[in-house]
Structures are given as C-alpha cells and as structure tokens.
C-alpha cells in the first residue's frame, strides 16, 4: 500500500551515486558531449545489430561506473506500459509508412512487414538504451559538475548577451529540487492517506472527483516550493550573490589524456552507429 507513494524511488534524475570510478572522474564536459553524440547516434540507428551494440555499451557503462544496474532498471520500470502501448500502435498503424521487406500480415489498413517489426523492436530497445545512458550520466555526475559542463558548452552564446550563467543556475536549481519535492510530496500523500484521502483510484470518468482528490497535494506542494524559494533567495542574497557578474570557479576543469581518449572512442562509436551499414 505504502509503496505506491514511493515517488522518489522512481526518480533517477538528480541522484548522484559516488563510487569514484573511472567514469566518475572523467571531465564532465567531455562526458556530456560524448553522451549527447551517443544519444543522437542511437536515435538515428535503425539496425538490430547497431542497437544491440548500443545496449551492450549502456550496460557496460553501468558496470564500468560501478553503479548497480538496478538504479537504471528502476528508471525503465515506469516506462514499460508506454513502451508496450507505443509498440502496439506502431505495429498496427506504421506498416504503410515503413513498408518494404517481407509482408507477414495484411488486413484492411493493418499491414505488418519485417520493416515495421524492425521499427517496433528497435524503438523499444532504443528507449531502454537512452534511459540507461541518461541514468549513467546523471548517477555518475554530480549536478554541480553537470551544470558547469552545460555552462561551459553553452558559453559561446555569451557573445550574444545570452545569460548563460543564469540559465544554467536555473537548470541546477530545477534538477536539484526535484527529489526534494518528491520526498515532500510523498510525506503529504502519506499524511493525507492516513486520514482517509483517496488518490486517483476513483473511476476515470469522474473528472471533477479526481481533480478534487489532487488539490490537497498540489496546493501545499506549491506552497512548500515557494517557501523554499524564499529561504534560498535570502541565503543567496546574504552571501552577496549578484547575477550577471563575471565569476571564477573553485574547481577548474582541465581535460587530460584519458578524457581525450574517451572522447575519441565515443566519436568513433557514434560514427560507427551512424555511418556503418549493419548487415542486420
């Protein structure tokens, strides 16, 4: 019963697992760059073999970063129903778009070919790969590192007066507070449930009832969020934080040899996924 309120368990975003592995010690800028390129390459690859390689890579990264793979799997679990629904929809409706290959089944507008089956399997596996890859990135990189990396990769935009530093600070605050608010929300749901409140178990057509069930959670959630914001504003202002100033950083990143090696391997792997014509 209580397990349905365990929101924080399903949220892998903003959780850092320090194991001090090789992956953890990489330059975060390089990590973010390689991650972005890899996700792009995986998103564009439609072959079985290519995606199997991608899946192997994402599992290997979990092993190499010494993070239990259960962390990654817990991110996949809530997505399973949607993956299945998407697969069924694609199987039924995409046959005409991705025709070609052997025709297995044809009835009215339903057309199932080897190409549409490939689309279904590949896009499900791809979903898993992208979830695993992004969990490795967020689990092995602290939010501070991640934001510094975003900031340094966006810094060319400073030339056009884009507030790079401020935007990256907003992103950090947003990511940082998601788990905190999840825990707060869990507490509130448990408190409300203990006094007999009921969440979302009403029949789905009773819109007004279901909305009313939400109000005792959502309104306090906003209030907690805003009062936390007040505290944070006061804390930042009393430490004389001034937006828009040029500022230096306590930790300065310097990419060393192994970072460039990882960058090269990442680029080569992505190029392989993008340009090599896989036989299967």
């Amino acid at each position: 019963m209580a397990s349905e309120f365990d929101l924080s368990r399903n949220i892998t975003i903003g959780q850092y697992v320090p194991t001090g592995s090789f992956i953890h010690r990489l330059d975060p800028r390089i990590k973010l760059l390689v991650f972005t390129i890899l996700v792009l390459a995986i998103a564009l690859n439609t072959s079985y073999l290519g995606n199997a390689l991608g899946l192997l890579l994402s599992i290997y990264l979990f092993w190499a970063s010494k993070i239990p793979i259960s962390y990654g799997l817990s991110g996949i679990k809530p997505a399973i129903p949607f993956i299945i629904i998407l697969a069924v929809l694609q199987l039924i409706f995409q046959g005409n778009v991705f025709s070609g290959g052997k025709v297995f089944f044809e009835y009215g507008f339903i057309l199932i070919t080897s190409e549409s089956i490939r689309l279904v399997i590949v896009s499900a596996v791809r979903f898993v790969e992208i979830i695993l890859l992004s969990s490795v990135l967020t689990l092995s990189t602290s939010t501070t590192d991640l934001t510094h990396a975003i900031q340094s990769l966006l810094s060319p935009l400073k030339k056009v007066k884009f507030p790079v530093h401020e935007i990256s600070l907003i992103i950090t605050i947003a990511i940082r507070f998601v788990p905190t608010f999840a825990i707060e929300m869990e507490k509130m749901m448990k408190a409300q449930a203990s006094r007999g409140a009921d969440f979302g178990s009403g029949e789905w057509w009773r819109i007004i009832q279901r909305t009313k069930d939400m109000l005792p959670i959502i309104i306090p959630l906003f209030n907690i969020a805003l009062s936390r914001a007040e505290d944070l504003i006061l804390a930042m202002e009393s430490r004389c934080y001034t937006p828009g100033n040029d500022r230096s950083s306590y930790s300065v990143y310097k990419a060393i040899g192994r970072d460039y090696i990882v960058l090269m391997i990442g680029l080569l792997f992505s190029a392989l996924l993008l340009f090599y014509h896989f036989p299967y």
Binding site: P163, V178, A225, L226, S227, I233
Partner: protein, 183 residues
C-alpha cells in the same frame, strides 16, 4: 538581458521548473479524461504562476522547462515533435502575465483568475493549432479535444492558481527578502 534576471527571478524560475518536472515525472500532473488526447494536464500551472508572480521572462523560462520535460517524457508521437511540445509552452506565462497586469488595477482576484484561465487556454489552443498545422490531427478532432479537455483544464488551472498565489501572498508578507528591493 543583463539585469533582467534577479536572484528572485532565478530561484523562483528554478523552483517552479522543478515542480513542473515533478508533476510530469510522477504522472500526478495528468488527470485522465475520456478524450482523444487522453489526459488533461495541470503541468502548465507552474508557468502561469511564474508569469503572474515574476513577469514574462520567468513565465517563459518555466514554460520552456515544462516543454522540454514533456518532450523528454513524451510517449505520444505528437509530443515528440519539439515544435508542438516546446514552442507553444513559451507563451503560457507571457500571456498570463499580460492578462494579469492588464486587469490587476480592477481586482487582484479577478486578475489572477482570468490570467490562469486564459493562460491555460493559450496552452490548449497553441498546442492543438500546432498539432493541426503539423498534420497530427484533423481540425474536428482538435475542436473536440479543445472543448472536452480544454475547459476542465482551464477550470482546474484557475482554482489551483488562485489558491497558490493568494496563499503565497500571505506568506510573502512577513518573510519576503528585503535585500532584493535594496539592490
């Protein structure tokens, strides 16, 4: 842009962005309704509140965070198109702010309520317009969705926004940081 983002704007945009992400990730932000769209969303409410409280820039930033998180979490192909998922969300907070500033002199309550109502309609109308423009659904389907999920969404949005903003204005009286006015 320099100077337009104060400490207050940065923190409130970040915190409301976190709420928008949380509502999306936990599925609490969706209220299932029996329509083609499937869900009435309340995830746009942080953007409206950001717009009302801190002006158009914060409203737009929270809107982008909401848009990106709905793009990343999307399971319907419709929202895997950045033009549908992200672009329309930019305007929610901006419209809410414009409406709020326009009516504020007459009545605070009326202004917040109308801003929330029209902000929600902005989301519904722009998303559906983009969906029709990009060819994901026909105009009739869009009208049905607009009426069956847009109206309940707008009503829920108004109630939640009023409750949150009014409660916050009470809290803010004693605790609001004085330093940001001096700077």
């Amino acid at each position: 842009m320099k100077g337009s983002l104060s400490v207050r704007n940065i923190v409130i945009a970040g915190v409301l962005g976190a709420v928008a992400i949380l509502l999306g990730v936990t599925r609490l932000g969706y209220i299932p309704v029996p329509t083609a769209a499937g869900n009435a969303t309340i995830m746009h409410i942080p953007a409206i509140i950001g717009g009302i409280m801190q002006g158009p820039v914060v409203g737009a930033i929270v809107g982008i965070i909401f848009g990106v998180s709905s793009f990343l979490n999307a399971t319907v192909p419709l929202f895997k198109d950045p033009l549908v998922a992200i672009l329309p969300r930019l305007f929610i907070g901006v419209i809410a702010w414009l409406v709020y500033v326009g009516i504020r002199r007459k009545s605070e309550y009326l202004a917040i309520g109308t801003a929330a109502f029209l902000g929600t309609l902005t989301n519904t109308v722009l998303v559906l317009t983009m969906a029709v423009v990009r060819g994901y659904m026909g105009a009739e389907v869009a009208w049905t969705v607009a009426i069956t999920s847009g109206i309940p969404e707008a009503i829920v949005g108004t109630i939640v926004t009023l409750a949150v903003v009014l409660a916050w204005k009470q809290i803010g009286k004693g605790k609001k940081s004085k330093i940001s006015e001096d700077l």
